[in-house]
């Protein structure tokens, strides 16, 4: 699968190889996380590196260990109404090993929490120590009740972000952690900037509002930042128009909007993606590097039961400029955030995004959640109909089409998606609210820390892991 290594003539067999279209996904349930939450679970978010999973339900968040599938800790008492969404804070600074989590609630606020791992681990201040501590703590745990109070104390509610008029529906940290975007039923997206020093365990959280984006005509259901760790994610920077961070928002108004910060520090809407015929419940950026080196695509999913893929249109002329830029930058090792093109010579700030694929339609009701794996490129979806569907893109097919579509300059590479497997009634008769790819750390994993499983969260309050084998 890796595009960076030269492909040897007979490709070596890989466990997660998804190139062949004849493959099928065998999706089998693993034993659910314990304890049962009993109330509707809205979403489950795995920590980017540690074996932890945060699940939002009722007015709290339960953090599960991915090593044992049992409760690690809980965040309670911070919100007056249901917690709808949760996000892990990217590590801040080199010395700060604090674990950070942010919660978005129907009470119209977002809360910043921290888990003082250094205190919990007796002063051993490194991420490794924290990870060890997390694993050890779960190793000898049978009495959840005894430990519950103690665990709850470990999470501290540090800061409340107030400003939205109605329910907060979604939030996301920018890849570097500098920005936090929150979205609400009040039709707005707020961007907050971290202005705390980021050093030391006792550093106070301090966030400032840097933008209020209110161009949507309805609830903003979801926000997501484009990945910035990929070389191809810097197209916009090369164009000299914007800083590196790109935000996308999905709305009850059936549209998706793309936002960037311009050279004057203003956050502007650069594109409106229209095509869905119902509330757009959410979006997922492509986080697996593309073989064609282009900007990450965006996947959106909707109450209309469809999943769409959108591609940034790049015209040929401009692409040549990029090539030149890149060479120059390569020589000097210097890359300016805003490029060197004078203001007056800049092209239009608008971007063109084309819908380049619609995934095979399987769902019959609202699609509430989609997850696009950074490792395998596989996509999993779920929703009101209780189905889990796993899809794969036939990349060989898409490459065949590149040559023909590039000539007219309007269409990006067309993609070809296939259904690899489905599960019906994933949570019995209940709706499934969330699905995510997640690294496995449990004893049953063949490749611990690498192999991916799926985790779903349902109206039945069950958080369920699924083993996915491609055969």
């Amino acid at each position: 699968m890796s595009s960076s290594s030269p492909p040897p003539p007979p490709p070596p067999p890989q466990p997660a190889d998804t190139n062949a279209t004849s493959k099928a996904a065998i999706i089998t349930p693993l034993s659910p996380f314990q304890p049962d939450l009993y109330q509707r679970a809205w979403s489950s978010v795995p920590h980017p590196t540690l074996p932890l999973l945060a699940t939002a339900h009722a007015k709290s968040v339960t953090v599960f260990s991915l090593a044992t599938f049992t409760k690690h800790s809980a965040l309670t008492g911070g919100h007056a109404r249901s917690v709808r969404t949760v996000a892990w804070q990217p590590p801040r600074g080199s010395t700060n090993k604090r674990l950070g989590l942010v919660t978005g609630s129907f009470d119209a606020t977002a809360g910043l929490w921290s888990f003082d791992a250094e205190r919990g681990a007796g002063g051993a201040g490194s991420g490794d120590a924290l990870e060890r501590e997390i694993r050890l703590e779960r190793g000898d745990d049978d009495g959840d009740d005894d430990k519950e109070e103690e665990e709850d104390k470990e999470w501290e509610f540090n800061l409340v972000l107030e400003g939205h008029e109605n329910e907060v529906k979604s939030l996301a940290f920018s890849p570097g952690g500098q920005y936090l975007a929150t979205s609400s039923r009040d039709k707005s997206v707020w961007i907050w900037e971290d202005v705390s020093s980021g050093e030391g365990p006792d550093d106070e959280d301090e966030w400032e509002t840097v933008a209020v984006l209110s161009e949507h005509d309805g609830d903003v259901k979801a926000v997501a930042w484009a990945p910035s760790h990929l070389p191809n994610a810097r197209a916009g920077v090369r164009r000299g128009h914007y800083s590196a961070d790109v935000l996308a928002s999905a709305s009850y108004d059936d549209t998706v909007r793309i936002w960037r910060e311009d050279a004057d520090g203003e956050w502007v809407c650069v594109a409106v993606l229209e095509g869905h015929e119902g509330t757009v419940w959410g979006l997922q950026w492509e986080t697996k590097e593309r073989s064609d080196g282009r900007f990450p695509r965006l996947m959106t999913f909707s109450a209309d039961g469809s999943i769409r893929v959108w591609t940034l249109r790049v015209d040929e002329e401009e692409e040549e400029e990029h090539g030149a830029d890149e060479q120059q930058e390569g020589n000097t090792g210097f890359r300016s955030g805003f490029g060197s093109v004078p203001n007056t010579m800049r092209r239009s700030l608008r971007e063109d995004w084309d819908c380049t694929a619609v995934l095979p339609k399987v769902h019959t009701r609202d699609i509430y959640s989609v997850s696009w794996s950074a490792d395998t490129g596989l996509v999993a979806s779920t929703g009101s109909d209780g189905l889990i569907v796993v899809y794969a893109e036939d990349e060989s097919a898409s490459q065949d089409v590149v040559g023909t579509t590039a000539e007219d300059g309007t269409l990006g590479p067309r993609s070809n998606w296939k259904v690899l497997g489905t599960v019906t009634n994933a949570h019995g008769p209940y709706e499934v609210n969330h699905i995510t790819w997640c690294k496995r750390f449990d004893p049953g994993a063949e490749r611990k820390g690498k192999e991916e499983m799926l985790v779903t969260a349902g109206d039945d309050g069950v958080v369920r892991p699924w083993q996915v084998r491609i055969s």
Partner: protein
Amino acid sequence: MERDLDNANPTILSVSQLPSRRRKGPSTRSGPDSKCDSIVFPKHSWPYGSYSSSDDGEDYGEEPMDAQDIYDLISTISDPEHPHTLGQLSVVRLPDIHLNPSPADLSDPDSLVTVLVELTPTINHCSLATVIGLAVRCRLEQTLPPNYRVDVRMKSGTHAQDDQVTKQLGDKERVAAALENDTLQRMVDKMLETCA
């Protein structure tokens, strides 16, 4: 108070005019509507007389849900501004309740059944349409098994903003948040007090 009502003089049906399964004796079945019953409904001795779901009746042990059952669950909800039920005000009408597929056809208890209820607000600009819809959705979600998916809509053309109201009522997240709003929850609770 009366001046504040959106519709001060709604048409009200008496309880005996409401559709019901439990019609006693031939007198209530003498209208022209019942003449075709012998053709429409299969001849079998159903204890309650006519049974609107024609293809069932064998499985007496666990009787599948039908439109009349749904009607019975929601027609007794009180109107938020009139001292009458949604059935009496014809906001809820039996022909506007649809089950798909018919629960009688299901073999797996986890299979989904969609209940579509189309509401007819008493007047065109009923500001309380959303609250009525919320109460109907609530009542059904509280009482029906979890494999039922409830879709509540404003009957097309009956309400000035019927599309918006329908979209709101179909939005799980909005409905969940609305029910955490104390004022709305109290209104809905009050409307549901009259349900058996």
